[in-house]
């Protein structure tokens, strides 16, 4: 999808005398090559936004009493909600895998006197925290602990 990009996308802070070609969007943007994952990563924003409001809806129902809370849980058995929540689960897993892969590359080379651990160690720690917190959270919510 080659097309003109915003004309000021690559503009220098001060106008120079050097003439430059107008910026173009990459030909493979938005859904080919490496741009596919980039675009999907951004598009998960809509799912996250809706999930935030979904949790808000559930918490408000919990505050409104037992009937409202049970109605929310019963409503989520609707196939439309099930499909959306499966999409949300896929989005969350996609975002986690992609972000955790990028995270070690975004670390500064040095923090004061200390160097950050090697990339694979940071990567492993992130996955350990993600899996560990998820297992504990699932166990609490599903009644495995704190009954």
């Amino acid at each position: 999808m080659a097309r003109a990009a915003h004309p000021e996308a690559m503009a220098p802070s001060k106008p120079g005398r050097t003439r430059t070609a107008p910026p173009q969007m990459p030909p493979k943007f938005p859904m080919q090559g490496r741009y596919r994952a980039y675009t999907i990563f951004d598009a998960t924003g809509l799912v996250y936004l809706l999930m935030g409001f979904g949790v808000l809806h559930a918490v408000r129902a919990l505050g409104d009493g037992a009937a409202a809370w049970q109605a929310v849980l019963a409503g989520w058995a609707n196939p439309v909600y099930v499909a959306f929540h499966l999409l949300a689960l896929a989005s969350v897993l996609f975002v986690g895998v992609r972000f955790f892969r990028l995270f070690p590359k975004a670390q500064p080379p040095r923090i004061g006197p200390a160097r950050p651990p090697p990339g694979p160690v940071i990567h492993g720690m992130l996955y350990a925290v993600w899996i560990g917190v998820s297992v504990v959270f699932v166990a609490i919510l599903a009644g495995g602990i704190f009954r």
């Binding site: 097309r3 915003h6 000021e8 996308a9 943007f29 938005p30 675009t39 990563f41 951004d42 598009a43 998960t44 924003g45 809509l46 799912v47 996250y48 936004l49 809706l50 999930m51 935030g52 409001f53 979904g54 949790v55 808000l56 559930a58 918490v59 408000r60 919990l62 505050g63 009493g65 037992a66 809370w69 049970q70 849980l73 019963a74 989520w76 058995a77 909600y81 099930v82 929540h85 949300a88 689960l89 969350v92 897993l93 975002v95 986690g96 972000f99 925290v129 993600w130 917190v133 998820s134 297992v135 504990v136 959270f137 699932v138 609490i140 919510l141 599903a142 009644g143 704190f146 009954r147």
Partner: protein
């Protein structure tokens, strides 16, 4: 408005980054149990019976986790949708789009604060 957005950028980026990191970590368990497990009958319904769910949610740690589950995904979503809008040719209307999206995230976060305090 543009100046305000530039001033708020560090705060927005903090909430956006935590939305990806903490939001993703917390949403995984929430979706598995609350959105899918109980409604589909995979998890016994009494696990999230009203009394137990309210007791879990209304203690200080529960309120904090729920507020994180509401606010952080909203900011992650708002910032990524703004980015998507710019990439799809919306740089000229970015100030308005950002104002609307961050406004939605801020309003949702505020409602989230009231919701968890009201438990």
């Amino acid at each position: 408005m543009k100046q305000l957005l530039l001033k708020l950028e560090p705060v927005v980026w903090l909430l956006f980054g935590q939305g990806i990191l903490i939001g993703t970590i917390l949403l995984t368990g929430w979706i598995l149990v609350v959105n899918l497990g109980v409604p589909l009958g995979i998890v016994p319904a009494d696990a999230l019976a009203y009394g137990r769910a309210h007791a879990l949610a209304s203690n200080p740690i529960g309120r904090l986790v729920l507020l994180a589950l509401i606010a952080l995904p909203l900011w992650k979503g708002a910032h990524h949708l703004r980015s998507l809008s710019i990439d799809f040719g919306g740089a000229g209307r970015d100030t308005a789009v950002a104002g609307v999206l961050y406004g939605i995230a801020a309003l949702g976060s505020l409602l989230g604060v009231f919701a968890v305090l009201g438990l």
